[in-house]
Structure formats: structure tokens, C-alpha cells
């Protein structure tokens, strides 16, 4: 689960990580009311859950209050990667002497939370990681000890020279780790962490993601959820036991298993088509699931044909076939459907479906090619 920058800032503040003052505003009127009349340098930032907002024009500087209002007017309602901006953060801009990157992530290789830091903070940090990987400090953290003071100090010493700043930065790192663990985060980034000319260390921009598997024990974090349009559709599918991600193509796919679903999309692309979605219906032959999945697929107006790809394992193909037939009975649609069943009891399953007159094929390759052909009619 993702949260907005302003929410990450709230969490930072709660854990004692210094952030500049700022106000969240949903309208231009709110900007007028909430920010002080004092003219000072401010930054108006779109609050969206997609990356690349700066490049899309969603972050603007303002020197006066009236300018901040003007900039908020420009940003509110703006479209960033298909998402309409509904709120802005109007924060005090600070002078920056130097920018740093600080991040915590669940590290697959170290099988631990790893602290990363770099003196090359800012938006080009990924480029730095590629071209100058030695400029990124990586410190795996022992889960039984947590981030130890000496570790935080060691990292901070590589970013700062002045002992006072080293202390400030090390404290921020320890607090960020505490926040990360206590909220079951899967990502916490301060980018940039800055040093101001008056030698303060501040978190200017923050990003936090949380482990969906741990939300059951994170009531406060769930309460922060503000799903955007993309996320809402995915959550709706999740509630029905389906895993759905909308894409831009025109061939709908319904598959059991995430790996097979990805391989199915690959196959469609390999034969020159474009998948309309990723949809994993999991390991069940429950007809209701198929009906729900079909409704989601057909709700996408771009879909011109549907490919159903099922591999029967423990779930037998004849059971799946009965589920499919029962489901397709309830759904009236003109969109052509191709079904491919393989695995346990595939022969019996195919016989059941053949009786319905739907096109059935034996392999994934055939199914992909057939679905592409039908999408062009």
C-alpha cells in the first residue's frame, strides 16, 4: 500500500524526523485560508501516488502568497499519468546547501532490511546507482538488534563532516528505522535529505510503502489509505479474491496463477498482440470467481477478445470447465472468448467446453494466436 507524501511527512514528524512546515490543501480557497499572509519561498506539490510528478509539472515554486495560490490553481485538477490531482501540499521551501538520499527497503539478497544512503541525493539517484554504484552505501540491518547506533553513525559519517550534523543525521536514520519496523513498511525514502545553509538536517520529500500482508496488524496505516482510480479497481478485484492490473491493450486475459498470467501476457505480445490486463483468478474452480473476473474484463471497453488460460493442478480441469460453463452461461457478451485448458483431466474438461460451442485450443501458443486473430474481427 502506498501513501501520499504529506502522509509520509506526518509519520516522519510523529517519529521526530524534522520536516519543513506545510499545509495540505484540497482547493484554492483552502490555500488562501490555510497559509500565512507572509510572503516567503514556498513549494506547491501535487499529491499523487504515481512517480514523475516533478517532470509532469506537478511541483512549482512560489515566492509570495498570491503566487502560491496561482501555482495551486495550475496544479489542482491537472492530469498526471491519468490521475487527476485533487490535493496539493504547500510547504515552506528551504535553501539547500547539499542534497542526500536515504532509504530503507526489504532486501531480497540480504534477507534483511537494508539501509541505503548517498551523498548524491535528488531525482537522479537511480542513475547514480547504475553508473556509480560505489556512491551508494548499503548497510543490511540485523533484525534481532535493529539499526544500531554505530551503524547509523558509520553511515552518517560518510555523508557529513561536521560532528553536529553527523549526530543529527544518525538520529534521523535510527528514527526512520523505528518507523519502518513499527509500521511494517516495505519502503521508506527521504529524497532529498538536505543540509540547509544554517546547518540544519531536514527531510524535504518522503515516500513510504507498506507491506500489504501486514496491514491486518496496522490499523493506523490502513486508515491512511486514499486509493486513486487505478488502485480502486485493483482493490475491488482483491476483495473478490482476484489479482488485477489494467494495461493498455485489447486482449483480455484470465489465468490461474501469477507466473502463468505473466507468461500468458508475454505470449500475446510475442505473437504481436497487446494484453489488456494482468488477471490472476487464483487456484479455484468457483464459478462466481469466473463471473466476477469476466465482469471486470468486459468492463474494460478496450477489450476485443478474451483468452482464458487454465492449468489444472490439484484443481481438476473438468471442475474448472464446469465452473467456466456455469459462469459463461450467466454472462451475455458478443466479445469472442478462447479457452485453453491443460493439466489434470484436461481431456474431460475440453469435452465439457466443446459442447458449449466455445473455441477451445490445446496450447498457450495456439490460444494467444487465436485470441489475437479474433480481436481483429
Amino acid at each position: 500500500m502506498k501513501i501520499h507524501e504529506y502522509q509520509a511527512r506526518d509519520l516522519f514528524r510523529k517519529y521526530g524526523i524534522p520536516v519543513p512546515d506545510g499545509e495540505l490543501c484540497h482547493s484554492v480557497d483552502e490555500v488562501k485560508k490555510k497559509i500565512s499572509d507572509k510572503d516567503k519561498l514556498r513549494v506547491v506539490k501535487a499529491q499523487v501516488l504515481v512517480g514523475g510528478r516533478g517532470k509532469a509539472g506537478g511541483v512549482k515554486l512560489a515566492t509570495t502568497k498570491s503566487e502560491a495560490i496561482e501555482k495551486a490553481k495550475l496544479i489542482l485538477g491537472m492530469d498526471i499519468k491519468g490521475i487527476t490531482v485533487e490535493k496539493v501540499l504547500v510547504a515552506d521551501a528551504v535553501d539547500i546547501e547539499k542534497e542526500f538520499y536515504v532509504g530503507l527497503i526489504n532486501d531480497r539478497n540480504a534477507k534483511a532490511v537494508t539501509l541505503m544512503a548517498s551523498s548524491e541525493g535528488g531525482v537522479e539517484i537511480e542513475e547514480v546507482a547504475k553508473t556509480n554504484p560505489e556512491k551508494i552505501i548499503k548497510m543490511p540491518i540485523d533484525p534481532t538488534m535493529g539499526l544500531m547506533d554505530w551503524q547509523a553513525r558509520k553511515v552518517a559519517l560518510q555523508l557529513f563532516n561536521d560532528p553536529k550534523q553527523v549526530r543529527q543525521a544518525a538520529e534521523i536514520l535510527v528514527k526512520l528505522y523505528k518507523l519502518y519496523i513499527e509500521t511494517d513498511a516495505s519502503l521508506a525514502e527521504i529524497n532529498p535529505l538536505v543540509l540547509t545553509p544554517d546547518k540544519q538536517v531536514l527531510a524535504i520529500d518522503g515516500k513510504m510503502n507498506f507491506d500489504d500482508n501486514a496491514l491486518f496488524r496496522q490499523k493506523e496505516i490502513i486508515a491512511m489509505r486514499e486509493a486513486d482510480e487505478n488502485e480502486k479497481k485493483e482493490l475491488e478485484a482483491n476483495a473478490k479474491g482476484l489479482s488485477y492490473i489494467k494495461l493498455d491493450g485489447n486482449i483480455g486475459c484470465m489465468v490461474n496463477g501469477a507466473g502463468l498470467a505473466m507468461a500468458t501476457m508475454d505470449m500475446i505480445k510475442l505473437y504481436g498482440g497487446e494484453p489488456a490486463n494482468f488477471l490472476d483468478i487464483g487456484g479455484s474452480s468457483n464459478p462466481q470467481k469466473v463471473v466476477d473476473a469476466m465482469n471486470i474484463l468486459l468492463g474494460d471497453k478496450n477489450v476485443k477478445s478474451v483468452m482464458i488460460n487454465i492449468f489444472g493442478g490439484i484443481t481438476r480441469c473438468d471442475d474448472v470447465a464446469r465452473g467456466l460453463v456455469a459462469a459463461l452461461d450467466q454472462i451475455k457478451t458478443d466479445i469472442p472468448i478462447v479457452i485453453r485448458l491443460s493439466g489434470t483431466n484436461a481431456k474431460e474438461g475440453l469435452e465439457i467446453i466443446e459442447k458449449t460451442g466455445l473455441p477451445v485450443v490445446k496450447t498457450m501458443s495456439e490460444a494467444a494466436q487465436k485470441a489475437i486473430e479474433l480481436s481483429k474481427k
Binding site: 532486501d107 531480497r108 534483511a112 533484525p143 519502503l187 496488524r217 502463468l260 493442478g313 493439466g343 489434470t344
Partner: protein, 290 residues
């Protein structure tokens, strides 16, 4: 020979009285797996599918000499179940449970290392040495004994590939579904090393996915340490960029974990990457000179 499990493996089921635990216990027994006991706190003395139930893993190990465990308990309790098995001296723990919190998995890792416990999963279909032992939820009937090893991050895609291998008369030594979670137990390199040392395995299939850099690391290991041929497939070659976690995911691996990067790494290690799963049997036969 095989890796990790064979006909002598004695298996206990943690969460045997639950719906999934009971169902898959019967499937595993039907396959011939030596299931010697089950765990369900407070239900000692009961039987499930003719298998005795114990209160703790320790009790089960003392009574049966079990050396492997399979976990079906709900996600909030899975981390604890892994720890219990590890402290009871179980050698191999297979965690089928999905949606286990990542921090719970991270916390068990140092304990597994200290106790010398091997973990497969979580969120995995399990593993099988065809004809000898099946631990997990794999459909036993599609496998057959032979000389190909297989490691996969996926479930149904594994079955798809195994089915093709079997149809092409390529049997398997041991197939391991390592699971798709970001932090999990045995990984590509651990298993590649075992296959390299297993006299019965002549070739290995690696089924990877986009994300992370485990495939790149596997490629490096194959290039430097392996003499046996390896064939790979990467799922998610068409997945669009954008589903990602801030910058940190890319920074930690110094790359974005794209299919292109993984394919490039495998090719550089002399590992052919199948464009679609149906090419895999052909590539294996080519490598084995069949």
C-alpha cells in the same frame, strides 16, 4: 539421488487440522510421502487421515524422528511456526502459507542460520522428488522420475513447464517451487549448487520472473561454478514498467530487474532463455544431446 528430499524423508504437517492442511495431507499420503505426524496445539491424540496429531513440533519429532515439516497455518502465525520447527531440530521446513508479512520472514532468517535449518518458501507450492516424496500442494501426477532439475518462482507456470517436460519424456530429479515473495528461504544459487552436486541431475531448468536481481546472480553463479547445462525462462517480459517501489527497488539491485537485463545476464552465462515455455523441452534436449 535427488536433492533435499527422498523416500526416507519423514514429514510432519503444521496446521494438519485446518481445511488445506487436512486436504493436502491426504494428497501427499496418496502420492506416497511418508507423513509421520501433524501439529495442532491442543489437539494431541487426534488422528487426521490416519496420522497422529501432536501439540508441538518438539513432541512430534521426539515421537516420530521427523526431519521435514510442511506449514499450512494462517499467515499471521506462519513465522512463528517456522521458528518452532527450526528450534525443534527439523532440517527442512516448507512454508506453503501465502501473504506472510515480510518483517516476520526477515526475523526468522538469523534463527534458521543459527540452527542450520533449510527453508523453502513461504508462498510456494513446495517440492517433489518424483516417485519418492512430495511436500506441498504440487499435482503429483504430472511429474515423473528422471534427470532434470527444476527451480521456479511460480506455481502454475511450473506445472505448465513440468507437464511439457514429462510429455517430452524428460523426467525430473527434484523440482522446487521457491515461492514468489521478496524475502524467502532457499534461492536459485543455493539450489543450483545442490543440483551441481547431485550425481543424478544432468540439466536444470530455471523459471524466473521480473523484479529483483536473483536471476542475474544465478547467471553469475552458473557462469563461474556450474558444469551442468541450465535452461531458463523469464515470466513478465511484457509487463509494463511503472509497477515499482520508489527508487529503492532499482537502487538496491543497481538495475530495474527487467526481463531484458535478466535475459542478457543468462545469455552471457551460456544459458539459453526460452521465448515461450513450450521451447524449454527442446532446449534441454539440445543441451543433453538427445
Amino acid at each position: 539421488m535427488s536433492i533435499l528430499i527422498n523416500k526416507d524423508t519423514k514429514v510432519i504437517v503444521q496446521g494438519i487440522t485446518g481445511r488445506d492442511g487436512a486436504f493436502h495431507t491426504s494428497k501427499m499420503k496418496a502420492y506416497g510421502t511418508n507423513i509421520v505426524g501433524g501439529i495442532s496445539p491442543g489437539k494431541a491424540g487426534q488422528q487426521v487421515e490416519g496420522t497422529p496429531v501432536f501439540n508441538t513440533v518438539e513432541d512430534a519429532v521426539k515421537a516420530t524422528g521427523a526431519n521435514a515439516s510442511v506449514i499450512f497455518v494462517p499467515a499471521p502465525f506462519a513465522g512463528d511456526a517456522i521458528l518452532e520447527a527450526s528450534y525443534a531440530g527439523i532440517d527442512l521446513v516448507v512454508c506453503i502459507t501465502e501473504h506472510v508479512p515480510v518483517q516476520d520472514m526477515i526475523r526468522v532468517m538469523p534463527v534458521l542460520e543459527k540452527n542450520g535449518t533449510k527453508l523453502v518458501g513461504a508462498n510456494c507450492p513446495g517440492l517433489i522428488t518424483p516417485g519418492e516424496c512430495l511436500i506441498g500442494i504440487l499435482p503429483g501426477m504430472i511429474f515423473k522420475p528422471g534427470n532434470v532439475g527444476l527451480i521456479s518462482r511460480s506455481g502454475t507456470l511450473t506445472y505448465e513447464v513440468v507437464n511439457m517436460l514429462t510429455e517430452n519424456d524428460l523426467g525430473q530429479t527434484t523440482c522446487v517451487g521457491i515461492g514468489g515473495d521478496s524475502v524467502s528461504g532457499l534461492y536459485f544459487i543455493d539450489l543450483l549448487e545442490m543440483y551441481e552436486n547431485d550425481p543424478k541431475t544432468d540439466a536444470v531448468v530455471v523459471i524466473g520472473e521480473i523484479g529483483g536481481d536473483a536471476e542475474e546472480q544465478a547467471a553469475k553463479f552458473i557462469k563461474e561454478k556450474m558444469t551442468k547445462p541450465v535452461v531458463a525462462f523469464i515470466a513478465g517480459q511484457s509487463a509494463p514498467p511503472g509497477k515499482r517501489m520508489g527508487h529503492a527497488g532499482a537502487i538496491i539491485s543497481s538495475g530495474a530487474g527487467t526481463a531484458e537485463e535478466k535475459i542478457k545476464a543468462f545469455n552471457a552465462a551460456g544459458v539459453p532463455v526460452a521465448k515461450e515455455p513450450s521451447e524449454i523441452p527442446g532446449l534441454i534436449k539440445e543441451k543433453l544431446g538427445l
